[in-house]
């Protein structure tokens, strides 16, 4: 049943991201709370709807962004894959896993965006993109990773506690 939550949660997060978070920039990078929520949700032990959440997030972001079609979807699925793989290997320290997924997931998603934009003819420099956008974005996502993980864990516990009660 928790997949029903995905649409309202990501609709709210998308509004928050475009209206507030995207304006808070470090150099020219910005945090991506949608990516962080996708990662944190996929890392929850009892959650089985991580893939659905990634798809919903990807489709919603694709609907508003000017990035090439379905790059957000591919990026968030990549983050979910990374989270699922790491969850099985570093399962005793979920916070550490969250930090790893936040950092490498951001790098992966941003590199995917960069490659896609360059492929469509946008003149972006590799070094300039890494130093001005990718690394600052990864750093900001690391800063937001802990509070987002705490909130998503609470949400997952409350959702699954109610499912157990039923």
């Amino acid at each position: 049943m928790d997949y029903l939550l995905a649409l309202p949660v990501f609709a709210f997060l998308l509004m928050l991201q475009t209206a507030v978070i995207s304006r808070l920039q470090l150099l020219h990078g910005a945090a991506d709370i949608i990516l962080l929520v996708v990662a944190a949700w996929a890392l929850q032990e009892r959650v089985r709807s991580g893939w659905i959440w990634a798809v919903v997030a990807g489709v919603l972001v694709t609907a508003v962004t000017a990035l090439p079609l379905f790059i957000p979807l591919a990026g968030y699925l990549l983050v979910t894959v990374l989270a699922r793989i790491l969850q099985r290997r570093v399962w005793k320290v979920p916070i550490l896993t969250m930090f790893i997924v936040a950092f490498f997931g951001t790098m992966g998603y941003q590199f995917l965006s960069l490659v896609a934009l360059k492929a469509t003819g946008v003149p972006l420099g590799w070094l300039e993109s890494v130093t001005n956008v990718i690394m600052p974005s990864a750093l900001l996502n690391l800063l937001f990773a802990l509070p987002v993980y705490a909130l998503v864990s609470d949400l997952a516990h409350s959702v699954h506690a109610s499912e157990v009660d039923e």
Partner: protein, 281 residues
Amino acid sequence: MQKFLPRNLQTIAVALLVAGIIFLGFSGYLNTVTSSALSPVVGIQSWISSRYLAVVEFITVPRDVASLRARNAELESQVFNLQARVVDLEQQLREAQVLYALLDFARSRPENQYVAAAVIGRDPSPFLHYIFIDHGSDDGLRHGMPVVTEQGLVGRVDAVTARAARVQLITDPATVVNVRLQSQDVDVMLTGSITGDVNLEMIPQDMEMKPGELILTSGLGGSYPQDVVVGQVVSVRKRENDLFQSASVQPVVDFRNLRAVLVITNFRPVDIGPLMPAQNP
């Protein structure tokens, strides 16, 4: 009779004495005596009065403190409400100032039709310089329409829904705007970048360009109307062995604090795509 006279004499004497004293009193001869006799009485009276008031105050003060505290809380609440109202009014004033500036700009160019829109967000991807505005196709907005502020060129409408639109800024790395220098009749190309800096490219080597020169849209290509202010030249990069020189440009619009924009709705961009020569495989 003998007993009667002395008694009458005593009474008469007392009456005369009293009458004399009253007479002296009215005529002011007793002022010194009365004032010196009353001053200790006044002192005592003042002392008693002040002690009485102190006792009354001591008894009634706790009740006053309670009422004062209540009154203070009420006033603090009023102050808080008024402060919130002041912040709200300041916000409205700033918005009104922005709208008045846009209105002045629109009045100064009566040949154009404008739709004013508020900026409601930015693209989630940090690689891209796009904004979202709160007006869409229901308000007559179409793809490619130029977007300006009272300061100058902002960009153009890139995608439209019924109630919102996405605007590509001139600072976006994929943006190319055909511009000209105000002082010289030479067309050059303005490009955005990932850092939001704007540059002039393809400037002929023989062209003399100085920092501070104003840059306007040329209208070439049909994507933007003519003579909209874009920015000022900040620095020129000229190398002898390069084919062209380039220059950094300071845009006139502050893109970080963009609150409201005007969309020029009666400008129809020309799509020159079909006229471009097809690339040979």
